[in-house]
């Protein structure tokens, strides 16, 4: 059992939880993930580590309430326990030798992009962060990104905050204005990562993306998380979750990600009804 020591709503659909997990906190690195299970009938879901504090023995997760499991998780208050919490899984972000990086985050993906930006900043790398949200109400982690980036571009789809437009607009502008990046790290919805990669490919800038496919064990046993990368099948849990974005088959990843949409919808309604009944 893993205690929730802090819970905070970052916006109407995104929650931050700080969880007591000292063994994971000691080992966690940006880019890695954990798998959790809320209760006995619960499914195992992967969530990327959003922050960690080895001294305090805590791991932070940030999640969007999208399905039955995240809804159940969000129903747990401070002081309550998560049944299973295992990690850190996957490979860490490669930061060696990077001098200047554009970190691109979209929506709740910013929760995963932030520890990467923070780590790069702490290593003396120049970080330009480009973060995109649908509207002002959904903006998260603005202060955190500001603290570790020499430049922050805030984008919203509707223009209600920052600049109106997509993250790719801002990235293109920066590149066109002469900024030279060793690497672009893009983390967000598949469709966003796909278009960031299409853009950076034109300019020949290496781009790393973080994939979050459906997963069960997270240790290489089930193969449910397989992706096509450069024409080869890779397992996101042991070979990733980060990959060379120019080689990832995003269309296949999107199809695979939608495999259980009908089931998830039904489960979400069930769980919603249960919660309404109290």
């Amino acid at each position: 059992m893993y205690k929730i020591v802090k819970k905070e709503l970052l916006n109407s659909t995104v929650t931050r939880m700080v969880v007591e997990a000292p063994n994971i906190a000691r080992k966690a690195e940006p880019g890695q993930f954990i798998i959790l299970r809320v209760d006995e009938n619960g499914e195992r879901i992967p969530l990327t580590v959003a922050d960690y504090d080895a001294a305090a023995g805590t791991v932070t997760i940030i999640f969007q309430i999208v399905g039955a499991t995240t809804q159940k998780l969000n129903a747990l208050e401070e002081g309550k326990y998560i049944l299973d919490f295992v990690g850190p899984l996957g490979r860490k972000t490669e930061t060696d030798g990077l001098k200047k990086v554009a970190v691109v985050g979209g929506g709740v993906g910013c929760a995963i992009a932030y520890p990467v930006a923070k780590k790069l900043g702490s290593l003396g790398c120049e970080v330009h962060s480009i973060v995109g949200f649908r509207n002002k109400d959904l903006v998260i982690l603005e202060k955190e990104f500001e603290a570790c980036s020499s430049k922050l571009c805030m984008m919203t789809d509707d223009g209600s905050y920052g600049t109106k437009g997509l993250v790719t607009n801002a990235l293109k502008e920066l590149i066109e204005s002469g900024e030279k990046y060793d690497e672009v790290i893009a983390i967000g919805p598949l469709i966003m990562m796909k278009f960031v990669c299409a853009l950076t490919k034109e300019y020949g800038i290496k781009t790393v993306v973080s994939m979050n496919p459906i997963m069960i064990d997270g240790t290489g046993m089930c193969g449910g998380c397989r992706l096509t990368v450069g024409g080869e099948t890779k397992f996101a849990c042991v070979d990733g979750p980060e990959f060379d974005g120019h080689l990832v088959d995003f269309d296949e990843a999107m199809t695979r990600g939608s495999m259980y949409r009908g089931f998830e919808q039904k489960k979400r309604e069930e769980s919603c009804n249960l919660m309404k009944q109290g």
């Binding site: 063994n23 994971i24 080992k27 299970r37 009938n41 619960g42 499914e43 195992r44 039955a68 499991t69 159940k72 049944l83 299973d84 919490f85 295992v86 990690g87 850190p88 899984l89 069960i216 064990d217 240790t219 290489g220 046993m221 089930c222 193969g223 449910g224 397989r226 992706l227 096509t228 099948t233 397992f235 042991v238 296949e252 199809t255 695979r256 939608s258 495999m259 259980y260 089931f263 998830e264 489960k267």
Partner: protein, 461 residues
């Protein structure tokens, strides 16, 4: 006078057309009278071949002798001296190629039903004498076991009985390894696995779930934490695919994923949050026990037609004869001498067929079995909406990549001494699928058992 009947007492079972719709255990077990009658078929050979045929060396004539006299608990005690998981082995061991395969009675007629009697004794103990274990006296030494599957649990049980403080580290949220994620409920009820593990905990074994060795801790860190020796029984690992077009379509599962969703995550129960695709027509590719388990699970989930697609002939099926027979009885269709060449998807990128080519048997290959050869022009398509690949696994890299000096084979299996399980690192032993690649539960248990003896010898020096 021994019972000279040439045939075994049949195993009472659920009828095929009933059981293929539920997940309850297929075989129901002997009652006391039947067990005594069967036990009386044993000739109590002076030089029993069956004991040599058992990977963990159970004193088979002795335990059967007790059952023949109606002393069931005594029979159980004899088994448990050698086996840490008797209720499991009685159900899933391939007895026909081990103890029963060499039983003197099988020279004329059928062997004694050793497996069924083992199961009977273990089930008798479980229902009549729960919790009656004595905790051994501690010898003050600590051993870490990686993986709570058959190899690890056996090693842990044997060491605990000798007084070692044993901690078993398990990556998943439930202990049992393949016994809980792989083998289905209808062949091995999870309650039975749980009870066997509780028995080990009563001996003082500590099981720590949600701990991935190679990630949460490394093998070297286990030594730093005060463990004097480490046994690696981390299992087989990454599922293999055929590398044919269409394997990443929606509706293609590895057998590991399909069975884990069904068994560990209980996707067949309505209150489980874990989804599984609803399928009408399923092709399972492969001919081993895992393929049979996947096919039978697919039937129970409501599929109308389930195929086993296997590239060799029926004679070469690696699955146990009993499993093949059960699978057929339940209505699975066998397409042998058939090899997939492509999985076909519709516009929605979901499986709608599997394109196969017919095979014929040619000259024997390196495995001694006749090599399957394609028959030109025999391509054909089977309409299915789900394909399950049950063609084996390759070793998991997590421990290999994080343990310096741990030698592995070119394929990635841990190199371990065949008798002791000793690896290239002092104090580190390994056994089970992590060493051999995918094999059986009892072979893994045998490896766990000999490693426990070797670890005891190493730590007693």
């Amino acid at each position: 006078m021994p019972n000279m009947s040439l045939k075994k007492n049949p195993m009472p079972s659920q009828a095929a057309d009933v059981r293929n719709k539920n997940f309850d255990e297929v075989a129901l077990g002997y009652d006391e009278q039947t067990a005594i009658d069967e036990a009386q078929r044993c000739l109590k050979c002076k030089n029993p071949a069956c004991v040599k045929g058992c990977p963990v060396g159970i004193d088979i004539p002795a335990f059967i002798g007790e059952i023949a006299e109606g002393r069931f608990e005594e029979g159980y005690k004899i088994i448990s001296k050698s086996s840490s998981l008797p209720a499991v082995c009685g159900r899933v061991c391939p007895q026909e190629t081990q103890c029963e395969g060499v039983c003197i009675r099988s020279k004329k007629g059928e062997s004694v039903a050793i497996g069924r009697l083992e199961r009977f004794a273990a089930d008798y103990h479980r229902t009549h004498n729960p919790g009656a274990v004595e905790k051994p006296v501690s010898n003050g030494k600590k051993v870490a076991v990686v993986g709570a599957g058959p190899a690890g649990l056996t090693c842990a049980g044997d060491l605990a009985k000798k007084g070692y403080g044993v901690t078993v580290f398990e990556a998943l949220h439930t202990a049992g390894g393949v016994l809980v994620y792989g083998i289905p409920e209808f062949r091995l009820p999870k309650d039975i696995v749980r009870r066997e593990i509780e028995g080990l905990e009563e001996l003082g074994v500590e099981v720590r779930t949600n701990t991935v060795i190679g990630k949460t801790f490394t093998v070297d860190e286990l030594f730093e934490q005060g463990y004097s020796s480490v046994f690696i029984g981390s299992g087989a690992g990454l599922p293999r695919f055929m590398n044919i077009p269409g394997e990443n379509l929606n509706g293609v599962y590895s057998a590991n994923e399909f069975l884990t969703r069904v068994n560990l995550m209980k996707a067949y129960k309505p209150d489980s949050d874990t989804p599984i695709k609803e399928n009408k027509r399923v092709a399972v590719v492969g001919g081993g026990n895992v393929a049979m388990d996947a096919a039978r699970s697919a039937l129970r989930l409501g599929a109308e037609e389930v195929y086993i697609v296997y590239r060799r002939s029926e004679n070469e099926l690696p699955a146990r004869a009993e499993e093949v027979e059960h699978t057929k009885e339940e209505g699975v269709i066998f397409k042998t001498l058939t090899n997939p060449v492509e999985i076909i998807g519709g516009e929605d990128k979901t499986v709608c067929g599997i394109r196969c080519i017919s095979m014929e048997l040619g000259e024997p290959d390196e495995s001694g079995r006749r090599r399957p050869v394609e028959i030109q022009g025999s391509e054909h398509t089977i309409d299915v909406d789900c394909a399950i690949m049950a063609i084996g696994t390759s070793p998991n890299p997590l421990i290999k990549n994080t343990t310096e000096g741990l030698e592995t084979t070119r394929r990635g299996c841990i190199v371990a001494d065949e008798e002791s399980g000793l690896t290239s690192r002092e104090g580190v032993y390994a056994g089970g699928d992590a060493v051999t690649g995918a094999a059986t539960v009892i072979l893994a248990m045998g490896a766990g058992k000999s490693a426990a003896a070797a670890i005891d010898e190493y730590l007693s020096q």
